[in-house]
C-alpha cells in the first residue's frame, strides 16, 4: 500500500497490547517522549480475549497519573483497529501526531532532572 505516516512515530512491537504496562508508558514520558499511544486490536477480537481491554484500562490510569503530575492526559492515548486496516493505522498516526503538535513538546525536556 506504501502508506505514509509521520516519521516522528516510532513503532515498538509487543505480542499483544495486554503486555503494555503502566510503567512502560510512564517511563516513555519521563524520558522525554512527547506522547505515547497504544494501537490494539478491535475490542472483542483480542486473541487473548482481554489484552486490549487491559491496555485501555492502563492507558486510562496513566492519563490520570499524568494529570496528577501536571502533564496533559492527552499525551497518552489508546486506538483500536484490525490488522487488515493499514490506512486506519496511518490515519491514527497522523491524528496522534497532530494532537501532539497541538500540545507542544514534553515540558519535562526543558526542566533539570534530579537523579
Amino acid at each position: 500500500m506504501r502508506l505514509e505516516y509521520p516519521s516522528s512515530v516510532k513503532v515498538i512491537f509487543v505480542p499483544c497490547t495486554g503486555k503494555v504496562d503502566v510503567i512502560h508508558l510512564l517511563t516513555a514520558i519521563q524520558k522525554g517522549a512527547d506522547g505515547v499511544y497504544c494501537v490494539g486490536c478491535l475490542e472483542g477480537t483480542c486473541h487473548y480475549n482481554e489484552g486490549n481491554l487491559r491496555c485501555r484500562e492502563r492507558v486510562d490510569y496513566v492519563r490520570s497519573l499524568l494529570q496528577e503530575i501536571g502533564l496533559e492526559a492527552d499525551r497518552v492515548r489508546m486506538y483500536n483497529l484490525s490488522s487488515g486496516e493499514g490506512p486506519t493505522f496511518a490515519a491514527y498516526a497522523k491524528e496522534m501526531n497532530e494532537n501532539i503538535l497541538k500540545l507542544g513538546p514534553n515540558p519535562l525536556k526543558k526542566k533539570t532532572a534530579g537523579r
Binding site: T27, E68, P107, K111, A113, G114, R115
Partner: protein
C-alpha cells in the same frame, strides 16, 4: 492477606515537600500481591515523583528498594547501610511495615505512601473484599464461617438487628445482612442451635497493642541473658 490502597498523589507530594533525597521502600509480600506497594508500584511512584518535582523545578534525588517484607528485621537490615544517603523514607508497606521501618531508622522521617485497608480475600485480579477485623476472639465456628464483626455493619456478635430487610442491611440494599447469611448457612447445615449460643460483649480492652508468642517459641534462655 493485608490489603492497602495508594494514597492520593497530592497527599504524598505534600508529605515529601521539604525533602530532596528520598528512598521509596516497597514490600514484596501482601501489598505486592494486592498491587499497592510492590516493586512495580514503587517504580510507578518513583517515576511520578521524579516527573512532578522536575516540573515544579524542585528536583529530587530518588532511590528505590523493595524488600521481601518490611515486618521482619532480617529484611529491614538490608537497608542499614543505605538510608544514610537519604533525607527521608517513604514506605509502600502496610501500617505494620511502615512502623517497623520507622522503628529501625528512628533518626529518619518515614512517611506512608499507602492507606492500609484491612484483611481481605482476592475476588479477582485487583479486587479485594475485607473478611476479618482481627478482633482477637474468633466466633466463626458458631456463625457458619461468616464473620459478624466484619460483615455486619454494626459488628454484632448476636444478631440480627432490627435493620435487617429481606436479606439486606439497612445501610444499603446491596449490602447483604451478615446475620441473615449466617442464619441461612447454619440452617442449610442443620446447625441453627449455634445461633442460640449467645456471645458475651467483646472485651474491647483487648484492642490495646497486642503481642503474641507462639507456643514453643518463648526462648527462656534469651530472657535470662
Amino acid at each position: 492477606m493485608i490489603v492497602a490502597k495508594r494514597k492520593p498523589f497530592d497527599e504524598i507530594m505534600q508529605l515529601l515537600k521539604g525533602h530532596r533525597k528520598i528512598l521509596v521502600v516497597g514490600c514484596g509480600t501482601c501489598v505486592a500481591v494486592c498491587l499497592a506497594g510492590g516493586e512495580k508500584e514503587v517504580a510507578v511512584l518513583t517515576a511520578e515523583l521524579e516527573m512532578a518535582r522536575r516540573l515544579a523545578e524542585n528536583p529530587v534525588e530518588l532511590g528505590s528498594a523493595t524488600l521481601e517484607r518490611q515486618c521482619d528485621r532480617e529484611y529491614l537490615a538490608q537497608l542499614d547501610g543505605k538510608v544514610d544517603a537519604y533525607d527521608a523514607l517513604i514506605s509502600m508497606a502496610c501500617g505494620v511495615g511502615i512502623q517497623f521501618l520507622a522503628e529501625r531508622f528512628p533518626h529518619k522521617p518515614v512517611y506512608p505512601a499507602v492507606d492500609t485497608a484491612g484483611l481481605a480475600v482476592n475476588q479477582d485480579v485487583g479486587w479485594y473484599e475485607e473478611r476479618c477485623r482481627s478482633c482477637g476472639r474468633c466466633v466463626l465456628g458458631l456463625t457458619g464461617g461468616i464473620c459478624p464483626v466484619t460483615m455486619c455493619a454494626k459488628g454484632l456478635y448476636n444478631g440480627p438487628c432490627g435493620g435487617t430487610n429481606k436479606g439486606s442491611c439497612e445501610i444499603n440494599a446491596d449490602q447483604p445482612c451478615a446475620w441473615n447469611a449466617i442464619y441461612e448457612r447454619l440452617k442449610a447445615q442443620g446447625r441453627l442451635d449455634c445461633i442460640l449460643d449467645l456471645q458475651p460483649p467483646h472485651d474491647w480492652k483487648d484492642m490495646t497493642p497486642r503481642s503474641l508468642i507462639q507456643p514453643g517459641y518463648k526462648k527462656p534462655e534469651k530472657a535470662k541473658a
